[in-house]
């Protein structure tokens, strides 16, 4: 109800006046700083409650010299790995008092400086960014304004926490090769800096096996784009017997496209995704996928962020995790 809301929210001064102490003490009391007697504290909290006082984080942030808030940028809220990364970051920060400010990209198809800018303007002390699609120079530019931890993508000279995409992609392709596939296509996302590792690794593995790589780029990383792109790929005369997709969403889209064309998985088409999302493991989906341990990446990123806040001059961290191929029944020998 709008009507019974006070016109002006209570401030520290109001509480101080009510109790008959100075603002300083109220400030100390609320931050749990030492030097306030227990009685005073009680009186302050009681008065605060009476007045409906809420600390103003905006004002506190402004007054504080040291910026300790952590900004977290997430590329795609519909992709589970970002939820996992968020959990991981929270785990890492849970013991610390740092505030976490979230920023989710509004474009699924590429660079979104706006979302990161808003974090910079919110004056966070450090930004954890998962996943940056911007060109390397742009990332360096951002990192010049505020410390940055890049998650899922290594950037030279910038704190980076990522999974070995080269290893993951190779494992996927080799799995298909071992099964006897030769017409293996790759469904990539749009080609952004730092997002071509899986693709390059796929292409290398193919060439090393004496095969011709065929890469198709989807418009973005969503299931819908995957569906569209896969429809093209599968409509070809000499269609591939296996497709390795940049992520699970593209793979799920591919799967729908295949079924829509009357193809069966894995009989007519073997399929591999990347992320090992919950959906991939569902009965009836059983999608072979590469697990990049997103929650662990997030946790590591959170720890690195805290260290960076403590020590701005330390050399850039570079933490690489090894992914794991999870084989399910979406892959089999070619017919």
């Amino acid at each position: 109800m709008a009507s019974d809301r006070p016109p002006r929210p209570a401030t520290q001064s109001d509480v101080a006046r009510e109790v008959g102490v100075s603002r300083t003490l109220v400030s100390f009391a609320f931050r749990g700083a030492p030097g306030v007697s227990d009685e005073t504290k009680q009186a302050i909290f009681a008065a605060a409650k009476r007045l409906g006082y809420r600390p103003n984080a905006v004002a506190a942030d402004l007054a504080r010299k040291h910026r300790s808030a952590v900004g977290l940028y997430l590329l795609d809220i519909r992709n589970e790995i970002y939820a996992d990364i968020l959990s991981g970051v929270r785990t890492a920060l849970s013991q610390e008092p740092n505030r976490l400010i979230l920023s989710v990209s509004r474009s699924v198809d590429g660079e979104d400086r706006g979302a990161v800018e808003s974090l910079i303007e919110a004056r966070v002390g450090i930004i954890i960014a998962a996943t940056l699609l911007d060109p390397d120079e742009a990332v360096h530019e951002m990192a010049a304004s505020v410390p940055l931890v890049s998650v899922t993508r290594p950037v030279a000279g910038v704190d980076s926490v990522y999974s070995d995409d080269s290893f993951g992609a190779r494992a996927a392709v080799e799995h298909l090769l071992t099964l006897g596939h030769t017409r293996i296509a790759h469904l990539a996302g749009p080609a952004h800096d730092g997002h071509v590792v899986r693709r390059r690794s796929y292409e290398q593995a193919m060439r090393r096996a004496g095969l011709v790589p065929q890469t198709l780029c989807a418009d973005d990383f969503t299931q819908e784009s995957g569906h569209r792109a896969a429809a093209r790929l599968l409509g070809q005369a000499d269609r591939p017997t296996a497709i390795f997709c940049h992520n699970d969403q593209l793979a799920l889209g591919t799967r729908e496209a295949a079924y829509a064309m009357g193809l069966s998985i894995p009989r007519d088409l073997s399929l591999i995704g990347y992320d090992n999302s919950r959906t991939a493991g569902l009965h009836g989906i059983d999608l072979t996928s590469v697990d990049l341990h997103a929650a662990r990446l997030g946790e590591a990123a959170g720890q690195i962020a805290l260290e960076r806040l403590r020590n701005p001059e330390a050399p850039a961290a570079d933490r690489r995790f090894t992914p794991r191929l999870v084989v399910r029944s979406s892959t089999a020998r070619p017919a």
Copy 2:
């Protein structure tokens, strides 16, 4: 690189000094306010760029009288409907300059005042909350500190945007009744205020049909909880032939539990979810589900928030949408 970062970020004053004008003009220029000559504007932007100036949103927020930021609280980042709600809210706000501040609950199992508090402390002008699990009084308390729009849950006297859960649940149960089921169980989430509508509606529909309702509450709204609860339910001697779940995640967990016990869907068990998430529509999942049009709820909530900001005294909005049962192949006549 940490080393080439300036110790103190540039401020409006720095830019003003560099250009040789007053801070006011810099402020006006950056906000696009009228009254700054084009030349001056150019000079200001050039200087800002040179100095690496970034507006400080924290300071701006503090100085501004009128709070226009919109805070969005999301209960569960892993549930697609919240991503849909976010999209909808963004659509509604896209024409307006209001900043959107996100807050995601850290507990999936219940009330999370902390996440809402942080929004209050961030001094947002209004909070859009999806979904509040707190008791009614608690919601009223929050709404006393800051205008609130409750999404997916109607709260008397508070702006509410929701879907007709009673209708949705009835449609689900009636679908199962029509198919000939009599042992229909309901898998609910934990019983929170405002989250018993689907359950009550289920129970009513059952009684009306002369049947005995059997409701089981999962620990929270996740797939894992659904799995656990369903395992109990399906382990019974006289197990149900159909289960209507509070949401898709619980339904997917139920599905896994069923398959793990060697049951087949829909042959041995008919299953209905709620949310009509993307996963529900995948080939091989084909989950019958109730679509509550989350994106539309989000958009309506965004619009209502903007109106409330303009007119604090207007009577509380109450916008109810009608859901739609989407029948797929997870439901069939009992064996």
